[in-house]
């Protein structure tokens, strides 16, 4: 079958900006994008530049954008792509500096990984809980499967607009150490992730979960880090107050009280209050702010809902 691959090219020594070049070639039923790139480089265009090593989804070198989505070229067959999109467009990962053709600089990616201290601060051997050790592998929630291909960082909608975000791959890795029963510095690790760029910067868009070729589910790891933070008493960031205020309102009213919610989250932080006030007034004038202190705000069956909350409080031993 003869197909056309539209491949993004860019040579910084010649080109002012990237452009797409069509390449025609014959493929078989299972030909992958990586195999096609290798053939094109050998037979058609020796300048075509891309990274690869293992060719079997282990090394994580060949992540790129295929038809707009971050994928490993070695794992992606051309025919299903054609069937799904009607074309095959190949480009470099987004969100990372472009070097040449399909090659991006991974330095910003590695800096994020380093920033979370990706090594164990070990407890003395006798303090490690042997029972927790038995379940440790499960507790990692598959994050140890990460091959650091960078697909999640390229797909991250927060990293796209805010490069200070530590990002999905590094936060998943951070979770791996928080969940490790041998780790001595869990509180310090959680504390370091509370500030700007940390776990509260994630918007929960699910892109990282969707594109990960190894089912690492970085967003789930971030959720677990958030839960661990709240459980360990780190409850004063606006991010954690968002969660606790939300839960509190549903506990009492069953539904979200959108008039009350921002006030509860912001509390007495005057600067933040003044930030949201003008929009609150505009919304109020358009009839978009329900009165926060209604006489009967709760849903009719609120008793059932409160009973559920209480049952969970007892199972968890103590309120949220």
């Amino acid at each position: 079958m003869r197909v056309t691959l539209h491949i993004q090219k860019f040579n910084p020594e010649i080109d002012s900006k990237p452009y797409e070049e069509p390449y025609r070639l014959d493929i078989g039923r299972g030909t992958t994008v990586l195999e096609a790139l290798m053939r094109l480089k050998n037979e058609t265009d020796g300048t075509l530049t891309f990274r690869y090593a293992c060719r079997s989804a282990i090394c994580g070198s060949c992540a790129m954008e295929i038809n707009g989505t971050e994928k490993l070229a070695c794992m992606t067959q051309i025919r299903p792509e054609l069937e799904r999109h009607g074309e095959v467009r190949v480009g470099p990962l987004k969100n990372l500096p472009l070097i040449k053709d399909l090659v991006v600089a991974m330095q910003p990616f590695w800096e994020k990984i380093q920033s979370i201290r990706p090594w164990l601060d070990p407890l003395p051997h006798e303090q490690v809980d042997p029972i927790a050790m038995r379940n440790a592998y499960k507790a990692f929630n598959n994050v140890e499967a990460c091959i650091m291909c960078g697909a999640c960082v390229a797909a991250c909608t927060v990293y796209e607009v805010s490069k200070s975000f530590i990002g999905p791959a590094a936060l998943a890795k951070a979770y791996r150490f928080v969940a490790d029963p041998r780790e001595a510095a869990v509180p310090e690790r959680l504390q370091r992730l509370q500030g700007d760029g940390g776990i509260w910067d994630c918007t929960r868009c699910n892109y990282c979960v969707e594109v990960c070729p190894k089912d690492v589910k970085p967003m789930e790891a971030i959720t677990l880090l958030r839960r661990a933070s709240i459980q360990s008493g780190l409850t004063q960031t606006l991010g954690s107050r968002h969660i606790t205020s939300f839960v509190d309102i549903i506990r009492h009213e069953g539904r979200l009280n959108e008039g009350l919610m921002p006030m509860k989250v912001i509390g007495f932080r005057i600067k933040d209050f003044l930030r949201i006030l003008p929009l609150g007034i505009k919304m109020f004038l358009k009839g978009k702010v329900p009165f926060p202190f209604r006489l009967k705000p709760a849903i009719p069956g609120i008793k059932e809902v409160r009973a559920l909350f209480k049952a969970r409080d007892e199972q968890r031993k103590g309120p949220m």
Binding site: T203, P262, L308
Partner: protein, 293 residues
């Protein structure tokens, strides 16, 4: 066709125009709805961050209510769809989970048997009613309008759980826009995040997302944007002015709820659809179609 309508919190709070337009459009389409007035919030992906079992139990309670009515659930919020769809998927597929959650519900005499489907209005219209049938309800073709679809996260991802649209190349909104005789605008931001979950705590990031997505749509000459999620609507509408300041460019892009766009094509008046309740004026859209009326 009859559904248990789960409005979600936004349609009953900050987006009453969504509720209003949904009622008009479903009635016209012959979808009978029973509103679930006693259902609690789905948790919006927030409760699950604190306590996943609690979030599941709250949703199982809602599913049990629909089950008792013998109806499937219709959502009108992308976030509700994603969260409830995920809860339902887990309750139906994970071994022992339904029993564990039912044990929490038992003291109040509630039990969910795993027999309810949760579907967004968009899926019901495109999947069940069908685009051809929808076209028959169009009395005011929106021929002059270029509409940018904005899916929002939870109606697309994780696709393993949702499975209606291809998250890499969704088509349902485009099909729907075309069926109303408007022109769907293609732009990269259509499947991205609006930033709403961050807007209280990380406003600069959230408005960065609003600015980036809307600018792309604007650059493709969109007249308005349509979204099946009221949380996307809130962020893109309410924070648009601040996003304009951030990117240093006037956007003035009206943001429409899904049933508002359909309602316009069905001939409902802007007032019936609550078009004056937005922060970004919808006047441009109204003027553009009324030229044809």
């Amino acid at each position: 066709m009859k559904y248990a309508l789960y409005t979600g919190c936004a349609a009953k709070g900050a987006c009453p125009e969504l509720y209003q337009s949904t009622m008009h459009v479903t009635k016209r389409l012959g979808i009978e709805v029973v509103e679930m007035l006693n259902a609690a919030c789905c948790g919006a992906g927030v409760i699950t961050e604190a306590d996943p079992d609690l979030a599941l139990a709250i949703n199982a309670r809602t599913f049990a209510q629909a089950e008792a009515l013998g109806l499937n659930i219709m959502t009108i919020c992308g976030t509700c769809q994603g969260v409830m769809g995920m809860a339902n998927y887990r309750l139906k597929t994970e071994e022992g989970l339904l029993d564990r959650i039912n044990a929490l519900l038992a003291p109040e005499g509630v039990k969910y048997n795993g027999r309810v489907e949760v579907k967004h209005l968009l899926w019901i219209i495109v999947g069940d009613i069908g685009i051809d049938a929808l076209q028959r309800y169009v009395t005011r073709p929106l021929e002059n309008l270029r509409i940018a679809p904005f899916y929002g996260c939870y109606i697309l991802r994780p696709s393993k759980v949702l499975g209606f649209d291809d998250p890499e190349n969704p088509v349902s909104l485009e099909k729907l826009i075309s069926a109303l005789s408007a022109h769907p605008v293609d732009y990269e931001g259509r499947t991205k995040c609006c930033g709403f979950p961050l807007v209280l705590e990380k406003e600069p990031i959230a408005i960065g997302m609003v600015g980036a997505n809307l600018k792309e749509a604007k650059d493709e000459l969109a007249d308005a944007l349509v979204t099946p999620c009221p949380l996307c609507h809130m962020n893109l509408d309410i924070y648009q002015e601040r996003a304009e300041k951030k990117i240093g460019e006037k956007l003035a892009l009206p943001i429409l709820h899904l049933p508002q766009l359909i309602g316009l094509a069905m001939g409902f008046t802007p007032k019936e659809l609550g078009l004056s309740r937005h922060l970004v004026s919808t006047k441009k859209v109204v003027e553009k179609i009324q030229l044809k009326v």
